[in-house]
Symmetry: D3
């Protein structure tokens, strides 16, 4: 877990075998400098996960943007519908973030995807070659549209959305496919811009069957 330096300094990742690299190119405030609402939220996340994902620390110097970012994230990711489970949502993140070569999002959301899907292989399979991954026809269609929206947004047509409805997604689910992909288009770019480093913990989470 990251220990962060004092006032406005760059935080260094403290981690056994990993080179010490700052977690962001921008300032990472100490926890005690945070506005109360963010400090409370960060404490709660850390208690639940066992560590604070670096995206929280990296956004903290911009409290308004941090609040909006997490609100948008939760609105589309903390949902489980028959047409789009939590695991499915994580796999959209993995597939589109891999298309953008975003290490933080692939590693962090790959970990969550392995746990949500109770499958130690699926995250790597989707990150490297989702087209041949062992997915349902529904999820194959979802990732077809999501990766098209990520890479060539003008190419998405009304027919693409109809295909999703044909696989049983509701209008809300279809919107979620679009909004998750759009939100991680933002996240991937911000992570690249700030050179955001994934926490060491994410790499090995969910890699054995009994963990799940």
């Amino acid at each position: 877990m990251a220990t962060r330096s004092g006032t406005g300094g760059l935080a260094l990742l403290q981690s056994g075998g990993m080179t010490q690299t700052p977690i962001s190119r921008f300032p990472v405030p100490a926890r005690e400098e945070l506005p109360d609402d963010l400090a409370e939220r960060f404490d709660a996340v850390e208690e639940r996960a066992g560590f604070l994902p670096n995206i929280f620390a990296a956004l903290a110097w911009r409290p308004d943007e941090a609040r909006a970012f997490f609100a948008m994230h939760d609105a589309v990711m903390d949902k489980d519908t028959p047409g789009l489970s939590k695991a499915d949502r994580e796999l959209i993140v993995v597939a589109t973030s891999a298309a953008n070569d975003c290490l933080y999002c692939v590693v962090a959301h790959g970990a969550v995807a392995r746990i949500r899907a109770r499958d130690p292989y699926i995250a790597d399979q989707v990150a490297v070659d989702w087209r041949k991954a062992p997915l349902s026809p529904r999820m194959h269609a979802v990732l077809t549209v999501a990766t098209r929206l990520a890479a060539d947004p003008a190419a998405v047509t009304a027919a693409d959305l109809d295909v999703l409805t044909g696989h049983g997604l509701t209008q809300d689910d279809v919107w979620d496919v679009g909004m998750i992909t759009s939100f991680f288009a933002l996240s991937n770019r911000l992570a690249h811009f700030a050179a955001l480093v994934p926490n060491a913990e994410f790499y090995s989470m969910g890699r054995t069957v009994r963990e799940q």
Copy 2:
């Protein structure tokens, strides 16, 4: 200005010479159905601008996402710094949205850019070929980094950010370049996914010198 149909129906654009097209592929709620905070915000925007930009109407069926979206927008766009004026911020939107072929963002933010920059030509110049547009070396560098982040995010390096600092941008300004570009990577994709239609008013705003 858009008149919107009843409960959750698709709104049609009402506009002189333009084909009637729904403003979104998703439901557009009537104003009286909106939560109070959004209704108030929409009224205020409409009063100031003379019409309600369609992005507001199109996001309204998802109030939490609408709130987060506008909060993020305002945090990075409603700012005027020596290193990055409001007009400069609009031009980042125009250049990166044009790279994504996003009609709504190019037309709406192009209108704002013409007015902010008091220049009836600059939005089209930046949208079609920002590289030869009559910009300062500072803004040329800003758009070089922003369009790279938009199109090939993994290619942005620490050296790119240093170039911006070398042109007088503060660390906050540099982050803003990254966050504006990232936020409109989201907006462009959402607009394509929903087939968001620009209001007719935007096309001609700011096109004569005396308007400004």
Copy 3:
């Protein structure tokens, strides 16, 4: 309108709010230096349009190429057939020139397209995202083939041409789609190479309904 400097010098654009930029990277001869046939042609164009489009001035130092260029232009653009109206022809220019990021062609032919189509919105809609523009199925097919020929010419097949015939284009119309696209592949590149600047007048032409 451009006033041009003396013998073989670079002409400067004289225009209210616009930075003075030479209209071309190559010499722009004074009107009195032109061969008689070109001078007459330029006078006629200027009288009809109210100003001389900069492409005329920029080509004038190469009289033989100028003559061939305008002859080719007129042969495919000054035509109105049931399958391909003058407005349709301008929209082919707008769509393919936008794919090539050519400011001069998008702005100048966008203006003509607005006027020919009596539609103040269509040029921007086609320039930024022709795929979602409110076009007839026939024109959607025409632009599908034209933009393919512009961007990836080896990918055009006999089946593409048959689709156009299926939409009612004659063999002559089909050829015109190909030749217009090919001719503006030339024009776009020449405009980029010479850094040709559009006349200020073009930007606002045809933007109000009553103008049409």
Copy 4:
């Protein structure tokens, strides 16, 4: 050499080992149907070359465009300057046409390039991989700019043109680099659109040293 069918029919290529394929997807008029000026021109070309290159036959059904096309061609190709010889001009055509996968232009102008350069290897070397072809630094710079203009015209900068001047090209030569590339952007697309077939004779011309 092509023998052409009667009134407005498709001409078939008559050639030893080659499958009979129409030389164009569009009508090819018989010689006696041509306007006098074109017929005379075609006779002269055929007498000099020993056969009539198919581009002449394929354009003949559109006399005005044919005249403009050949006028433009001759204005930039029939020139020999210290900075840009006739062989150099042909190599610009070969390199940019190969980038566009244009069989007619690569084969026909490759043949002319071998003869003009008195080098049986250079056309294939430039067509397949001009970057490692045994060229002078001047011609390497010329092809760098020409292939950039062919493939990504907005990326050409004033600095690119200055590099050419630095290698001894005059302002006229620099323009010619741009115009030759632009003209063959037209030709390549027209050849693809019409599925123009090269004459069999071109394939083997200039392949032995003594021929030159």
Copy 5:
């Protein structure tokens, strides 16, 4: 580990949490059907690794190609030089195979890279975004050239090779960079063509520090 079906049938992957998928689209012979030299080699590999990597099983139906493939592999991968360690060689495989979206090569050679480099993070870092991975300047240069050769081979220049020599690689090391990249251009394509599935064991190998 894979258990393979009888005579020339498709083998199924037997593995706890993973969907049963054939390891190849082509026949996988039973061990007893193999020529003696291959059977001995496979036994030795299996004894050393604890399981037989699926690439062996998938190539076995083509004994001559299998022999050549493994001979080429060993000639460039089983080497440890001051300029290019075994771990470095594996990272070339990971970076270039990731550029080709090859699941088998990224997962199998990622596992070997983690073990060789005694670093549980480096394989994912290099696979997803080698440009920001914590690598030495030497290895950054090596991967710059290797990924260029993988993706755009004509763009590699003599200067690229000189950069490698400048980082201390011998002429043999430089060749190895080229041959490893070229050999895995073959392997990646063959793995995609046969839909080769990685063994389940590879995913978790080398992911904890004490394993190393």
Copy 6:
């Protein structure tokens, strides 16, 4: 034919009209320095062909890789089946090598293809624009899959392979399409990396009908 310099020096191409260029960026050993098995093989090739193709000379400094390379080559190229003749195999090489801009492979295998197919035009037709080349539907399908595998390997699907079977290819033939393409993905990259120069003899082989 190449004469090679002494111990480990760079060999120069000796050829009438061609600039003297080393045949490789890496050492080319003299014939008397070769291991006996390679020396015998090279003598046999030279006697049969009349000259030693430069790929042999360029690989000789790495005897193990040379042996594996030629073994793999012969396993997939020296075969003639009803579904995939020797000429067909050469055309796969020409089409995919042209997609990689590989001069050596296009020129050398183009020569062999002309001779095997007894067609002086087919190699250039396939190299420049295989999509419009006069090929059977079977070979058109083969090249569709092969060029896809060469350029975008993750895009090849099981359905692509089924198309080949539908054209009468056996399972062995289908594998050969994949392996030939994969092997020349290796060869093309190695040839670019070493800047391998084709022998002058290849350019004119098989260009007249009577030669065949």
